[in-house]
Assembly symmetry: C2
Homo-oligomer: 179 residues x 2
């Protein structure tokens, strides 16, 4: 969804195109993938220090309702915020490395198959589909094996469980000051 297309869509719904919304649209458009509200706020706040966090939430809600962005719940380091991505793209799954946090996108026929099967099997009208896959990327599989070996050599048991997103000790995203 380009910023212009979004602008048109909003205009048609009789929604005013304020300076703040223009900025947020532009940032969403250019940054593209997997932003959370806080990160979007940080980016916007840099360019317009008056812009408030609340405006970000309100704008995201608006765009979500207009079908211009999709809301995701990525299983990053245990953070529980929502992520947003613009809705240009084809249906895709999010493939998330639980160690480095990198998010890949996977396009492929299983997703369309799944949608069709659900529609025909349940007589369901599919409006949204989200798939997220967590695990270790090729790179981190190696590093993780090393970490485990080292931890075992050391204190005995000090590594996070593997079957589940980190949660406690994993790096956590920096958090902007409130107010």
């Amino acid at each position: 969804m380009t910023a212009e297309a979004a602008r048109d869509s909003l205009k048609q719904r009789g929604i005013r195109l304020t300076r703040q919304r223009q900025l947020l649209l532009e940032l969403l458009d250019r940054t593209g993938a997997h932003l959370d509200a806080e990160s979007l706020y940080q980016l916007a706040h840099q360019r317009d220090p008056k812009l408030n966090r609340v405006t970000v939430y309100r704008t995201l809600k608006l765009l979500k309702e207009g079908g211009l962005v999709d809301e995701l719940d990525l299983m990053h380091y245990g953070g529980d915020q929502h992520y947003y991505e613009t809705r240009t793209k084809q249906e895709h799954a999010h493939v998330i490395c639980l160690r480095c946090g990198r998010v890949e996108e996977f396009y492929g026929d299983p997703l369309q198959r799944l949608r069709r099967q659900v529609e025909s099997h349940f007589g369901f009208q599919v409006l949204i589909a989200r798939t997220e896959i967590g695990g270790y990327c090729a790179h981190c599989q190696v590093l993780r094996a090393q970490e485990i070996a080292e931890a075992r050599r050391g204190s005995g048991e000090d590594v996070e469980p593997a079957a589940v997103p980190a949660g406690d000790e994993g790096e956590r995203r920096r958090r902007g000051a409130r107010g």
Copy 2:
């Protein structure tokens, strides 16, 4: 995951099997599908009025870390809590009606295909996979069409957007008192 299997698994990890945990395990085991922390707490609290909400959260965390339950983010009526289900079952997608809130489970080869393709395509080691599909069930498609027609006949515009989970005006789950 039967309650007994869970008990064994916890015992092996040197985790104590307290009265509270036994109760929670039993409830999870019997109730099965898609409980949120609050509902589990309500159920448990009925049988043991001393049991605290915090214990529910701590136990769920424990079970999650042990891979005994999976955490879901179902796109119900805009509620943002997590849901939990025991990990007996085969991989499946959650199919959620955005009108009536009913959750179906879909088992089928696209899910296994997807997993295999992601593994081979990225060299990724898949640990968790979640798929949720939102839309209208066969029953609610009809009702929704009626609702829209009625609303149109009435005030003009009063129906929720269709492309996005309700959020504002949709029925919201009852919320247990705090403290």
